[in-house]
Symmetry: C2
Subunit: 234 residues, 2 copies
Amino acid sequence: MTKDAAPSAAGRPRLSGAPTGSPRQDIIREATALFVAKGYAETTMSEIARSAGLRQSSLYYWFARKEHILQALLEENRSSLALAAALEGQSGPAAPRLYAVLHADAMQLCSAPLDFYEFERVARSQPQNFGAFFDDYAALHRLTASIVRQGAESGEFQAVDSEDAATAALGLNEGLQRHYRQPLPGLRSYSAEQVSQLSADTTLARLLAASGNLAAVRAEAADIAAGWSAAAES
Amino acid sequence: MTKDAAPSAAGRPRLSGAPTGSPRQDIIREATALFVAKGYAETTMSEIARSAGLRQSSLYYWFARKEHILQALLEENRSSLALAAALEGQSGPAAPRLYAVLHADAMQLCSAPLDFYEFERVARSQPQNFGAFFDDYAALHRLTASIVRQGAESGEFQAVDSEDAATAALGLNEGLQRHYRQPLPGLRSYSAEQVSQLSADTTLARLLAASGNLAAVRAEAADIAAGWSAAAES
DNA sequence: CAGACTTTCAATAACTTATCGAAAAGGCGT
DNA sequence: ACGCCTTTTCGATAAGTTATTGAAAGTCTG
């Protein structure tokens, strides 16, 4: 009944004669490529079907709605939340932990198959299917605010409202990922690493009480992120 | 030939019998209301026609494409660029001038009929019609970077890359206007004034060499903006 | 080998943006 | 008064979109 990853040879054969190896995964893969190239709204079910080797109406056997393809695609990209959850409860200075979280979130926004805002638009039109998206966002915001609060209480950061600071930090990530994906004509264009660094640098420079430490914070953050991803492998 | 704002009684009468007073303005007004309420993509030409009191196909007599309505609507919102142009060449400390520009830009993004990103999406799909949009953006970015550079050279600001700082400042404005328009569930919601202040505060706090001056900068910026808009009236 | 199950397909409904030619008025010259 | 030109609106329709439906074409199981 789950009809997931079933390389069975059953069912009516395709007109195209294309070999049917896990149609669900094939569709997701082809749809991802098209979403990356043209965006979600501009990609039609007919195009996805053509790329995946079946007819437009056959697509609806695997995904009853276009949004469901996006939903299936979403459930792979949640690593920055896991990092934030791990680092929030950790002891030690807040600055490198915050830097690591913000940098990882920005990198994920840049490398995700869909623009954050396009994704948010679809999620908002189907709240019952995309509740996890909003839950994840709220969780990330809460963890970010918590790390900011830790830094403010220890004197490492300036005295700021932690919720406002988290909103600004995440909002900056979102605003800058756009500049990575769609550079505006006449402006410098950035790599994913460059926008992530610019975003995290900007937020930390605003928060740190002693502003000279930024380079050290950045280095420590890199260590933390490397250590965490190594630990996550095992 | 310009067929603009022509309250002539000529032409075939409407089936709806509605009084025909400047159809072009009527359409823009009704379309604006619908765009604000539902967004651009979700508003159909049929709905606009119904609100304006004519048939869907008759709309195309006044606007050959849906984007043209948006384009007509755009040509009213360019005040923050004018402010930036006025303040960039002005003497005196950079901080309050930058604050005033960023705050005004954020307020405009919040009060505009369309979400910045939705507008950008349409503009990108019709670059030949929306070149002014990209020109304005590039100009605003250049002026912002110029003010940042003035502050950095005078020692008022920290030593930063002025282009990066401008990108981050404007990106933060854009990211935060989204939080004003569409508050995410579980997060605090902001008024237009609150997000504008949060955005400008955050950028200035990051840039100022002496971080205690923020409240004074904010007050000076309000004076500057008030003086400028009074001067613009005459 | 018969029936059940799985997968694909063509046809079609309902909606969208956009085009086209005809229709319905007013204004104007004669 | 009459025909003609211009302006404006309309209905019909094309081409594209997402999504539904019932039938068709295979494999698998008892």
